[in-house]
Amino acid sequence: MTTTSSKSQFLHGLRTGLPFILVAGPFSLLFGVVATEAGLNLLEVMGFTSIVIAGAAQFAALQQMSDNAPVIVILATALAVNLRMAMYSAALAPHIGKAPLWQRALASFFLFDQNYAVGVLEFEKRPDMTPQEKISFYFGITCAIVPAWITGTYIGAVVGTAIPPEYALDFALPITFLSMIGPALRTPAHIAAAFVSVLAALIFAFLPYNMGLMVAAILAMMTGAQVETWLIARGKWS
C-alpha cells in the first residue's frame, strides 16, 4: 500500500545520508590502515569492519588486541564504548518498533551514530510519517553510509600493507582516538568525564590485563552523570 512512499522515503534517506560519506570514508580508511599495521590480514580486517560496523569500538578493540589483553577485556572495552547504542535502540523503538521482525533485526545490525541521530531528528520533525516510511528512511541513510564504510576499510587495508614502518603509523591509532574525543566534549559534564577517564586510567595503569581502563571508564561515567545532575540543579544545563 505504501510502496511508493516507502521508496521515496528510502531515496530521501539516501540523499540525507550522502554527506556523511565525507566522515565515514576517511574514518574507515584509517581503520583499514591501523588494523593492517596492528597485524590483521585483509580478510580479518574486512570481517571485523563488516561484522561489528562501529567505528570507535573497533579502534578500541584493536588497541586492546595490540596490547595482548585477554579476550574478555577486549570484549568489555568494545562493549563499554558501544553501550551508548542501547540508548539509540531505545530512542528508535517507538518509531520503528512496529516494523516486521526481519526489518528490525536488519535495522539493529546497522545501527550506528549517524543513522540514529539523523533518523530520530527527522521522525520528530515529521510525526505524520508511518512506521514503514520511517524504517525506509532509516535504511536509506544506512545504505548511503555502509558501502562507503566497507570500501574505505578495504582501501585502507590495501594501502596499509604498502606503507613502510618509518612513517610512524603506530601513532595513527592514538590520533584517531583524539580526533574522536575533541568533538565529543560538548558540555562541562563530558569534559569532566574525559578528565577523570584520563586520570584514573593513568593511576590504575598498574592493574593487569588493561583492567585499569574498565575502572577508569566506570568512574568517568559516574562523573559525567553526576556533573550533569549538578548542572541541571543549578539551571545551567541546556
Binding site: E44, A57, L92, A168, S179, G182, S197
Partner: protein, 109 residues
C-alpha cells in the same frame, strides 16, 4: 599482536554478537519502553569515559619509543586534540595530528 588467527576471529565474533545484542535490545526485544533517566544519564558518557582513558597511556608512553615520552608524538597528540576540540570536526583534527607528527619527525630527524 600475539593472537592466532582463530583467536582474532573469536574476538571479532564475540564483539560482533555483543554489539548486536546491545543494538537489538530495545528495537527487537524490550520494545517501546522508556529507559530510566539515571541509566540514560550514564550511557550518554560511555564514549568519553572509555576513549580518553584508552589514549592517555598511548600518548604518554608510546610503545614505538619503548615507553619513553616522545616530543613528536606529544605535539601531534596536542594538535589533534586542540583542533578537534575547537573545530568539532573529526577530519580536521586527524589531519592536524598526522600533519604535526610528520612535520615534527622530519624537524627532529
Amino acid at each position: 599482536m600475539d593472537m592466532t588467527s582463530g583467536e582474532i576471529w573469536l574476538t571479532i565474533a564475540l564483539v560482533g554478537i555483543g554489539t548486536y545484542l546491545v543494538r537489538f535490545s530495545f528495537i527487537g526485544i524490550i520494545g517501546d519502553r522508556e529507559m530510566p533517566e539515571w541509566v540514560l544519564r550514564h550511557l550518554r558518557y560511555t564514549p568519553v569515559a572509555v576513549l580518553p582513558g584508552l589514549v592517555a597511556p598511548l600518548v604518554l608512553w608510546p610503545a614505538a619509543t619503548q615507553g619513553q615520552p616522545d616530543p613528536a608524538r606529544l605535539a601531534a597528540a596536542c594538535a589533534a586534540f586542540v583542533v578537534g576540540y575547537f573545530s568539532k570536526n573529526f577530519i580536521w583534527s586527524a589531519a592536524a595530528g598526522i600533519g604535526t607528527l610528520f612535520l615534527m619527525l622530519w624537524v627532529l630527524g
